[in-house]
Symmetry: none
Subunit: 288 residues, 2 copies
DNA sequence: TCTGAAATGGAATGTCTGCCTCATTTTTTA
DNA sequence: TAAAAAATGAGGCAGACATTCCATTTCAGA
């Protein structure tokens, strides 16, 4: 017996996740009061980190000595060592969202080396995602998806800085086996491509200030043909908003003169996958 | 004098931000040792939260009594009350970023409507940005930028899901007036385009599992021509990593089967703008 | 039901804690 | 420069702390 102490269980959990796994693993075999502490510890990790043995024991409804036995059973030499793990967890926690962003932006502004540039783009992307997550209009999203789900062919229209988003939409629509047409300018046949669109189709158009003239022109033409347009743009003054049946306002932060595409990408993918889902559920209903 | 204690400074800072502002505000008027503690507290808030008065005082190079005087000067009745503020900060911040993400993911998993899909993509993008921000190797970034800055022409190579990133890189390089060539497949002339690259050029190649065979094949060919490659890929087992002079491991979270591009985008833009900066500073030196 | 072992409660213990006090040094004021 | 005031250092003290110990209870196996 005396040999067991030093030989078995020498692998003391040093990080919270390991500790958590260990506790969960042994949950069944633990004595009642020890299990009580274990449950409390996993439910109130902050209390373990900050409390005293006495206060924690009282909150958990056990004796302080039980708390210490619990720690020892896990291989720690006392409550204090166990508490270190819970404290370390809080230390290593990523700082709050705002603090993190501020730090990134500060580093980016300080302009120390190329890491700062990278931090700037990460900060811009995070900000954009944050903004759109707050401001997205759910009703618009539903409307846009309904509209697109009914379309025979989805045309995707975007140039220049917005083009990457369009190409990802086209890729995703293809993967989902949804008929689509990316309006590209390779051979200068855009006008002809646009001419094929009918009111039974639909368009996703993306453009940010300064709006690519070609995008606006094609959006105008296509809307005059009676084709419904879902637009992603940056303000209600955008010419795209005029032609659109549904439009989203996306405020992308920029860094070093280049706009983040993260928010637009997230919205674009939500539209795409949303259409895919809607089509599947609708076709199921039709068959039934 | 005896009236000052109770009458002035009754507004004890109860949250960290207020406390921080208060300290910064009074920084100039504080006595030397008190200021020393103040600086230490703002620089090492976690130590204040977890340490004892004695250990903190030792780390900051002052007497414990000074620490207590510092707390009292701020209106607290002792070190312990001051410490509460630092502990509360850790408690609260931990519930912001992680929990927000978890909430988004939970909503997405619950699958309630199309908003859930959108939340899923936002969560995936946030996670990816978070990850790359932690794991990016600064030395690799410097190496990659140096390498690309020396190139006569930067070739950009990516297909399928990675193509949107490539197109944004090409757009940005163009804006920065850096000669570049996007290796596209429109006319099936990739092989010929690849053949033009020389060791004086460089390549940015992007591919994630399952690796597009064409990307791998072209990367192999181009590396055999002695052209240096900067690769963005997802693991050290990636075939791209073999051919690359410098490579980045980017772990993009995915949702509904579609990978986020946010982290890759941020890295791509950092590379692009980094090269732009480097070229400008180098050409200035040459002229001087 | 009995018996040994494991688990538990609760008090005792010695260490360490925060905080106060007072002597000394530094700074400010006249 | 002298006196007063503020700041600082260092030792001491009461209380809280984690931990240990031991008596008691609960449980398991025959």
């Amino acid at each position: 017996m005396s040999l067991d102490g030093p030989t078995m269980d020498e692998r003391v959990p040093r990080d919270f996740e390991t500790l958590r796994a260990t506790i969960l693993d042994r949950r069944e075999t633990l004595p009642k009061r020890i299990a009580q502490i274990a449950a409390y510890a996993l439910d109130n990790p902050d209390d373990i980190a900050f409390g005293t043995a006495a206060s924690i024991a009282a909150s958990a409804g056990v004796q302080p000595s039980t708390l210490i036995r619990f720690a020892q059973q896990l291989g720690f030499d006392g409550f204090t060592s166990l508490q270190q793990v819970f404290r370390e967890r809080l230390r290593e926690r990523n700082s709050s969202y705002d603090e993190r962003l501020q730090a990134l932006r500060a580093k980016a502004d300080a302009g120390a080396g190329h890491r700062a540039i990278f931090d700037g783009f990460v900060a811009a992307a995070s900000t954009s995602l944050n903004d759109i997550s707050r401001t997205l209009d759910e009703a618009h999203l539903e409307d846009a998806i309904s509209l697109l789900a009914k379309a025979e062919t989805i045309y995707v229209l975007a140039k220049r800085r917005s083009y990457p988003v369009a190409s990802y939409i086209a890729y995703a629509l293809g993967k989902l086996k949804i008929r689509n047409q990316l309006i590209e300018s390779a051979a200068g046949l855009n006008a002809e491509m646009v001419a094929f669109a009918t009111p039974a189709d639909a368009v996703i158009a993306i453009s940010f200030s300064p709006y690519a003239p070609a995008t606006i022109e094609e959006a105008r033409t296509i809307s005059e043909q009676g084709v419904p347009i879902v637009a992603i743009t940056d303000s209600s003054f955008s010419p795209l908003a005029q032609f659109a049946s549904v439009w989203f306002e996306v405020a992308e932060a920029d860094f070093a003169g280049f706009r983040s595409l993260s928010a637009t990408m997230a919205l674009a993918m939500a539209l795409t996958v949303g259409v895919g889902e809607k089509r599947r559920s609708t076709s199921r209903k039709r068959k039934a």
